[in-house]
């Protein structure tokens, strides 16, 4: 090496001197952005080296983390899976609790909106084992002042009525059970009928003459004639109406989700449920009778005479007393029943 250098010493010196002057030039010359050429070169020289170093380190690191560092991954993976399962379970519990809280909030709001009517919230704890029987059990019974023939509703609409009472539970007959019958009327025309179960998911409304003009979506409410439900509780809407002999065949879409009941309300009396708005309206009419007299409100549509219902069918249960066999117009207004103690 030394021999080679001494043999080519002039050439080596030439290269050194020229290189030194090139570097001197590069130190003086400035390119665009006022960057010295020597810095350009330094960056250009170092960048590939840095790139190579980064590439090497990343690959070595990748090999380390991808192979060597995976010794405990299986155990960690197992532990994380368990954590995920636990968290999923916890998440479902929380979702369930949230849904329950939402339902209870709805019930509470409903109860607060009808403070005048005594009612009791209850949870559905079971259903009938008979597939043809549409009944369910609630967690309220005799100890909670629940009695036979009390109405059961949800904030959405009518559910059914109490048919059997036990010390801490009660059995509810749903409105779509074949033994059920609810005095009903159309909210718009006030035409009376009876909503009866047939064993199908959808109950039917009977005793409506063929001349009655009906549209799908017509609202059906309780008439109060059965002395179980207060008047004007929402039952459902007309789903399909077909002419029949002698009465129309009307399929009713229940307002309450009868197949997904979890929380219900037991009506402890038949007192009519007045919404706050209607109460305020009545208060206003009392305060300003003069105005009412000057501009009488539109009279309610005339009630058609109540349809005579089959008493046996209308009875919620064989042991239940016959509710009404007279037309609604002749039936005295149902008095609120005090809860039986």
């Amino acid at each position: 090496m030394i021999d080679t250098f001494s043999r080519h010493r002039p050439l080596a010196l030439l290269a050194t001197v020229v290189l030194a002057q090139v570097l001197l030039l590069a130190f003086q010359i400035k390119r665009e952005n006022n960057v010295r050429l020597i810095r350009y070169w330094a960056v250009e020289l170092m960048t590939p080296l840095e790139r190579a170093g980064t590439w090497t380190f990343s690959h070595v690191g990748g090999i380390w983390s991808g192979y060597v560092g995976l010794r405990n991954t299986r155990a960690e993976n197992e532990r994380l899976r368990n954590d995920v399962n636990t968290l999923r379970l916890r998440n479902r519990e929380l979702e369930s609790e949230s849904a329950e809280a939402h339902r209870l909030e709805t019930l509470l709001n409903f109860k607060e909106a009808h403070m005048e009517a005594p009612m009791l919230p209850a949870q559905v704890i079971g259903a009938s084992a008979d597939p043809t029987s549409h009944t369910l059990f609630i967690n309220r019974g005799e100890r909670d002042r629940v009695r036979r023939n009390m109405g059961v509703i949800t904030p959405d609409g009518v559910v059914g009525k109490i048919v059997e009472v036990f010390p801490s539970t009660a059995q509810v007959l749903l409105i779509n059970d074949k033994d059920s019958g609810v005095g009903a009327l159309f909210a718009a025309s006030r035409t009376h009928g009876v909503v009866k179960g047939s064993g199908d998911p959808q109950p039917h409304m009977d005793y409506v003459i063929n001349e009655e003009k009906l549209q799908p979506g017509d609202v059906i409410v309780t008439s109060g004639e059965d002395r179980i439900f207060p008047k004007d509780l929402l039952i459902g809407t007309v789903d399909v109406a077909k002419p029949g002999n002698p009465f129309q065949i009307i399929a009713v879409q229940p307002a309450a989700r009868l197949d997904r009941l979890e929380d219900v309300i037991v009506l402890l009396s038949q007192q009519e449920l007045l919404s706050k708005k209607s109460e305020e309206a009545s208060d206003a009419s009392d305060v300003a009778p003069a105005q009412s007299a000057a501009q009488p409100a539109t009279p309610p549509p005339p009630k058609t005479s109540g349809v005579v219902t089959d008493p046996n069918k209308f009875k919620p249960a064989a042991a239940a007393p016959v509710q009404s066999t007279a037309p609604a117009s002749k039936t005295p207004a149902p008095k609120p029943r005090a809860p039986q103690r």
């Binding site: 010493r9 002039p10 010196l13 030439l14 001197v17 020229v18 002057q21 090139v22 001197l24 030039l25 590069a26 003086q28 010359i29 390119r31 050429l37």
Partner: protein
């Protein structure tokens, strides 16, 4: 012409190395730089004749030592750069370093005493010098410096002719061996 290009390995030991009186080289170099600066006042004349280049070639081929040739060329070039106001230092330095080295190497191999030989050498070194300058300017400064033009050709002829005369004058400063 035949002896001008008498390149031979056998001729190298017989080549005479010329020596100068003390201070001759330094004085000549400084004078060349001063005259070049003086010529710069006259514009075109400074481009026509490159006195530092001629001095570099002369002392290179006379001393016939590549190491001293490249250092002398480098020093002259850097001084020339330093005296010019717009050249970055090293521009002429690189070119004259290479010229000094080559002149010394060539001077050790061929006869450089004949006027025609000197004319040819100066002509070639002029264009070599210009080529190095052009490359340096293109690569480092991003300037489009020309490698060859008619003006450069004329300049090289004038410089070579002037160099033959100057070399004859400088021969008188040699110390008799």
């Amino acid at each position: 012409m035949s002896y001008m290009l008498n390149v031979s390995a056998h001729s190298e030991p017989n080549v005479e190395v010329h020596k100068f009186y003390g201070g001759t080289i330094v004085g000549t170099v400084l004078l060349a730089l001063v005259f070049q600066a003086f010529l710069h006042k006259y514009g075109r004349w400074s481009e026509l004749i490159d006195l530092p280049l001629l001095v570099t070639i002369y002392f290179g081929v006379s001393r016939r030592n590549p190491i001293s040739g490249l250092f002398l060329g480098g020093a002259i070039g850097i001084l020339q750069d330093a005296l010019s106001h717009d050249n970055p230092i090293g521009m002429y330095g690189i070119a004259k370093t290479l010229v000094g080295y080559l002149a010394s190497s060539v001077g050790a191999r061929i006869d450089t005493e004949h006027p025609l030989s000197r004319f040819g050498l100066i002509f070639l070194f002029f264009h070599f010098h210009q080529a190095i300058l052009a490359v340096t300017q293109r690569v480092l400064l991003n300037h489009s410096a020309p490698f060859f033009t008619l003006h450069l050709f004329i300049d090289s002829l004038v410089t070579a002719a002037f160099g033959v005369v100057l070399f004859a004058l400088l021969d008188r400063l040699r110390r008799n061996s």
